[in-house]
């Protein structure tokens, strides 16, 4: 399985009580969000407490994901529309009916233009609905390795991996859409398609090969 890393956190040190850590995880389970400091506290505690590490290590990727997502809330489409409408209303506190129609029309045009632009370009990411995923492949002797999948429109030239220190481990970090399923392969030297050897979830691609599956 590829290593998932969501953001970098400050390196606070110190241990928290097991009960406090449990309360943090329980709150995350209820609310689906976790603050970066809480994540760091859980990490720090688990690194020193074997039983808590055993309890929560399976949840860590999700804790990390939701911590990163909560750190930078985006501006969803509906919220943008609300803001546009609010601004229009504010600029015309006592509009005559004709001007109110005009204001609504202008606001709709602005929202429509934004919506159309979004549709034309496909999904537009906000920090809240994306996750950062780090992919690695050990391929000593390879001249090039590409990450190709549903998220690159199956274009093998979009995400080229790098091996800067020439140790044979090719890496890339990409932002992918949260709550989606990514199907992907590595392409070695432009022609050899392989599934991710670290991924436990692999599916028959229907063409005689295998692809890896990553739920985000």
């Amino acid at each position: 399985m590829s290593i998932l890393r969501w953001g970098t956190m400050s390196r606070e040190q110190g241990t928290e009580g097991c009960a406090r850590i449990e309360a943090m995880v329980a709150a995350w389970e209820d609310q689906g969000v976790l603050s970066p400091p809480d994540l760091e506290a859980i990490r720090t505690h688990c690194s020193a407490c074997g039983p808590c590490s055993g309890r929560f290590s399976a949840l860590m990727p999700l804790l990390e994901r939701d911590s990163g997502a909560a750190a930078s809330p985006g501006l969803p489409e509906a919220e943008l529309a609300d803001k546009v409408m609010a601004r229009v209303r504010f600029s015309s506190p006592r509009p005559v009916p004709r001007l109110r129609w005009a204001a609504i029309a202008v606001a709709c045009l602005i929202v429509a233009a934004g919506f159309g632009f979004t549709l034309a370009r496909g999904w537009t990411a906000t920090p809240a609905d994306e996750v950062v995923v780090h992919f690695e492949l050990e391929a000593p002797g390879a001249k090039s390795v590409a990450l190709v999948g549903s998220f690159t429109d199956w274009d093998a030239s979009k995400l080229m991996m790098s091996d800067a220190d020439r140790d044979g481990v090719w890496q890339i970090t990409v932002k992918l859409r949260k709550d989606s399923v990514a199907i992907y392969n590595f392409v070695i030297d432009g022609s050899r398609w392989i599934p991710d050897p670290r991924s436990s979830a692999q599916v028959d691609d229907g063409f005689g090969g295998q692809s890896s599956v990553l739920r985000l």
Binding site: C18, R55, A58, P61, A105, C108, D205, G206, R215
Partner: protein
Amino acid sequence: MCTVRVTPRAVLLLALLALLAPPLFSDGNDAASWLRSDPRARAYASAQAEILAVFDDAQKTGVPTGPLVDKLKEGVAKRVAADLLVAGLRVELDRLATGESLLAGQAPGLDPGQKEAALRAVSLLLASGASPQMIESLLDAASEAARGSTYIVKTLGVLAQLKLSIHLPDALAQTLGTALLRSRMPQEAFDAIPSVVIRARANGMSSEEVVAIVVGVLRSGGGLIQMQDRLQKASPGAQAERRQERPGAGSAAAHPQAGGPPHPEGPVKR
């Protein structure tokens, strides 16, 4: 001379048309235009009629073409032989059509976006080896529990990952999926289930044991913490440790780091 009077209402009408226009005129998912325009697709010119026939069949059966376009691009990128490409598309269409008929019967009224997401999830679950009957039972359970499409998609995704990773048999997948759909667990927490189950299997527990514990916790209204605790206690390693500790049970200390019982039972949620 002709004059055009632009009223605010007319502007509003134009705005609404502009809002609706992109979906109507978007050709992003149009297989024919992609086949014509993308240089990668030129190698498949001889098979174009067969490929487009697959898309025609999809439209006739009401299957959204987005997943098929993805599959087409995948096959073309992998430079598979034309006959393999068409066969792969047909297999994908069969899965999507199966999903379409299952969803039409069990989860009608989904909007196009929800439907495509659900169909992709059904297709992946079928590709992982699940039977249509098992998926139908899950959709029944979702309907009984009044679960929406998001829960359905999440549950199907969890089961697909478990089937692909640890080859979870259909009967266990159905039991687990039904328990998830009937549980009060927030849908966001579903994402953690594969990780919890796979780790427990890696710790030496059988799929039957793991699913029994997870389902038991879900039915009792418990959450992930309680699930983790019960799985950890039931793991062969923890049981062996307890057997070793039993002769000197009095030395078990209260703090987990001192070697005592790992943790008290997690709080029962909701």
